[in-house]
């Protein structure tokens, strides 16, 4: 029972035509997305809620000289499209001038994108979701566990156009399953997740099993004092801390002295060796491991980028305005980021660790100091002591105060394999390895389980 697919191309043309008719001197940028999102939540070993939502949205930005404004609607009938365009024109006419306004982009040449759309993922129905959830939350006989989780999948088509002739069109799908298992006595908790643009790639039985195993092994944790430890961070933890660094890699904020990447006395840190030679951060294009659109939110063609090459800052993100002002090439905001893996297996990360801590994931990370990128947050869903190269016993959770810069500076081993990490928005796709890092500040004990 699927509604008719909205005519995005027709809506795009109608919006651009309306802009031309209502304000011939205006430059117009139009973005359309048609999307189906469906999900199933479960908790306490039973389904709790489940939904299926269709929505198409149109966003139009109108620029009149140096004045600009944008307007969104989710009604794609001709009258509503015209209303949205008129509203943007009306707002642009009275908006104060913006000296930083940029003209809309013309036709772009896009890199070949990795396949990101899977028809099977786009057509999953309620019965298939229920079957997957049942398998993810199956308990073994005698297991005293409470399972909670979330299964979601989406299919999206994105279409962009400008009055200067840009046209972009991309389809993608995605599926995520995450499971949290808690022991009946409330002393243990474990978590696992899987993401892919193909729902068929996901192993719901394995995700459930990893979460259950972690919960059982983490039960009745023993006390470990706060302090600076060698830690092995699973990919979800690495990604969460890394993201706070990605957000600060804006060239303008650095050039204006408002970020870690600002150089004392002016300028930015491009060219500086900050990390060891094993740290490389890039945004490849066409990599099947990063199934992303080849254009940014404004339609700008995304080029393959190396942000940090063997420890040296090679690039920061330049908006079109800032690139023009500084005589650089605009990079746009990347949609895919890869922290290159190392050579280790997961087990090898524990090798040689006399006393350390294995951390499953982080929670509630918040910046403390934008200058040093110091972040605070907590551990959750599985923290274990490593002694003499082996994981020995569960320990309490911690609040940590640490910087992604220090995490990468002090990293001395990474897994060869990289993993997609769950993020709050599907605009960005990120892959990271698990890693071992030293002197990690586990600042205080958290009694939470």
């Amino acid at each position: 029972m699927k509604p008719a697919t909205p005519n995005l191309k027709g809506a795009l043309d109608a919006a651009l035509a309306a802009a031309k008719r209502l304000a011939p001197a205006a430059a117009a940028f139009v973005r359309l997305e048609s999307r189906r999102d469906a999900n199933l939540r479960f908790a306490r070993n039973e389904v709790t809620s489940s939904g299926d939502v269709d929505e198409a949205t149109l966003s139009v930005e109108i620029t009149l000289g140096k004045r600009h404004a944008s307007s969104d609607t989710n009604q794609l009938d001709p009258a509503s499209i015209e209303t949205a365009v008129s509203r943007a024109i009306g707002m642009a006419q009275v908006a104060p001038e913006d000296p930083e306004v940029m003209p809309p982009l013309g036709p772009q040449r896009y890199e070949k994108a990795a396949p990101a759309y899977d028809a099977a993922t786009a057509s999953v129905d309620a019965a298939a979701r229920a079957k997957m959830a049942r398998e993810a939350m199956a308990l073994k006989q005698g297991e005293d566990l409470l399972l909670a989780g979330f299964l979601e999948h989406y299919a999206s088509r994105e279409m962009l156009g400008t009055s200067a002739g840009l046209r972009a069109d991309h389809q993608r799908t995605g599926a995520t399953l995450s499971v949290t298992a808690r022991t009946g006595d409330g002393t243990g908790s474990g978590w696992a997740a899987s993401l892919s643009h193909r729902i068929g790639d996901m192993d719901q039985v394995k995700v459930g099993a990893v979460a259950r195993d972690k919960a059982l092994k983490s039960a009745k944790p023993t006390k470990l004092e706060p302090g600076r430890y060698t830690v092995v961070l699973e990919p979800a933890a690495v990604a969460e801390l890394l993201i706070s660094m990605l957000f600060s890699m804006d060239a303008r904020a650095a050039d204006e002295g408002r970020s870690f990447f600002a150089k004392a006395g002016g300028g930015n840190k491009i060219g500086e060796q900050i990390f060891g030679p094993h740290i490389t951060l890039s945004s490849p294009m066409g990599d099947p491991l990063l199934p992303i659109a080849p254009f940014g939110q404004d339609g700008l063609a995304l080029s393959p980028m190396t942000w940090i090459d063997k420890g040296t800052v090679k690039a920061l993100a330049y908006s079109r305005y800032w690139a023009q002002k500084q005589g650089k090439t605009p990079t746009g905001i990347p949609r895919g980021v890869l922290l290159a893996g190392g050579t280790a297996t997961t087990e090898e990360l524990f090798k040689g660790v006399k006393k350390g801590v294995l951390i499953t994931r982080f929670w509630y990370s918040r910046p403390l100091d934008p200058q040093t990128l110091l972040v605070t947050g907590l551990t959750r869903d599985g923290v274990f002591l490593i002694e003499d190269g082996a994981v020995t016993r569960p320990v309490n959770n911690f609040r940590w105060n640490e910087s992604p810069i220090q995490m990468l500076k002090n990293a001395d081993a990474m897994t060869k394999e990289t993993y997609r990490a769950p993020l709050p928005s599907d605009f960005l796709t990120i892959r990271v390895p698990a890693l071992r890092t030293n002197e990690f500040n586990l600042a205080s004990v958290s009694d939470a389980v």
Partner: protein, 524 residues
Amino acid sequence: MELTRRRVLKGTGALAGLALASRAGLADARGLLTDPLLEEVIGRALSAAKKAGATYADIRIVRRRTESIFTRDDHIANVEGNESYGLGVRVIADGAWGFSAASQVAPAAAERAAQLAVEIARANAPLLQRPVQLAPVKAVVDTWQTPLERNPFKISLAEKSDFLLTINGALLKVPGIKHCFSSFQGLGEWKLFASSEGAHVEQDLIRIRPAYTATAIDATSGEFESRNHDISPIQAGWEYVAKSTMLADAPRIGEEAVQKLKSPSVTPGKKHLILVPSHLWLTIHESVGHPTELDRALGYEANFAGTSFLTVDKLSKFQFAAPHLSFYADKTTPTGLATCGYDDDGVKTQKWDVVRNGKFVGYQTTREQAGWINEPQSRGCSYAQDFRSFPFQRMPNVSLEPGSKDLGVKDLIAATDDGILIHGEGSYSIDHQRYNFQFGGQMFYEVKGGKVTRSLRDVAYQASTPDFWKSCDMLGGAREWEMGGSFWDGKGEPGQVNAVSHGCPPARFAQINVLNTSRRKGRG
């Protein structure tokens, strides 16, 4: 909760009986949606749900408008005006919930959404351990609107942007201020809720969020500090902004950013904290608001937002705070961001205790949840952020009652020998059971011998929730009770945001662990 034809008819019949006068005031908020269309959409959704086998059904038709103006330094950085319409149909079939939503407010789309919602419910029913049971509620036909003087959506863009740019001008005049950002966001939420039990509730809520930040940079050292104005988002009209001291405060806010940059870094250790409402509201939100959510306490949010240390066995037994502290929840306080007439289950909003004389006594609940703790009625906390979202338990306004003595922040300072006074909200983080938290702020002042001596920087405090609230040894009175709030409280999967306010007087907390959050010169 048997769905009968009589009930469906009663529901739609009630529409015809509505006093036109009460709905006329809402016509403007409905936008493109006309009465005959709405009636047809409601009727088609509810009857399609019944026909497909639903034992309960409701529909929410929502129009959501946002307007945002962002400025940077001397110019407008972005202006946006967004509008969306849609309908969401929620059903119970075979004892399970099903939900489907569509962005077309049309009879065919409503019917299709209802059928799909029932299909989903039926597919999920085998994964249930017990059927969903809703606490009874009186089905009402009513309307509710945010009381306001000047609808922000009718104020010209020029007036709003002039106001912001005038503030920026004042900030940039302050020596040392290199950048400033100001913004205004308006959120209009019109919704019509109708259920198979005959409820028909139309509401129009207007919320606004004015804000600005000044950034001071020391070009030589490369160090920078920012100071946000302490104004809170609120449920009100433009009059709140026009009557505020935002513009008059700009020179002071700029000077405070510069002063922060020159301030000495705090020496960590145990200190008394004096926390004023512009700061303390956020601590209440995280450490009182969230742990008293029943779904968290029972594990329903375990996979994302987390659980709560306030488990059901602690209800009416656990000493949560010092005996002179009482917290209440409500969705009725005027200007509160969570305030409305009815929740998204159609339950009339109310006020109740969550902590009385320091003891934990109440949870936040919905119709589905009331029975989980054997309560006869819902507390009216159901909310969905938009048409496409499934309604679930969201936080009401949760506030700290003022103390009985007429104390103000000056009295708290005068009584403190060694402490820190904190204004404004800063960095915040709390664990997934709401025990261990760490909060920063905007401005920090050293208090010595009953006087403010100098400003400090790099301050955060860390504590465990019950220890913190038990350490409260001085509480301000009603005169300085104020509300702060958030536009973006996140919860659920898929994530939804909820706007919520928290009121409190200034208060003092004894011997709290203060940290230094800077790494400059090897600290931290």
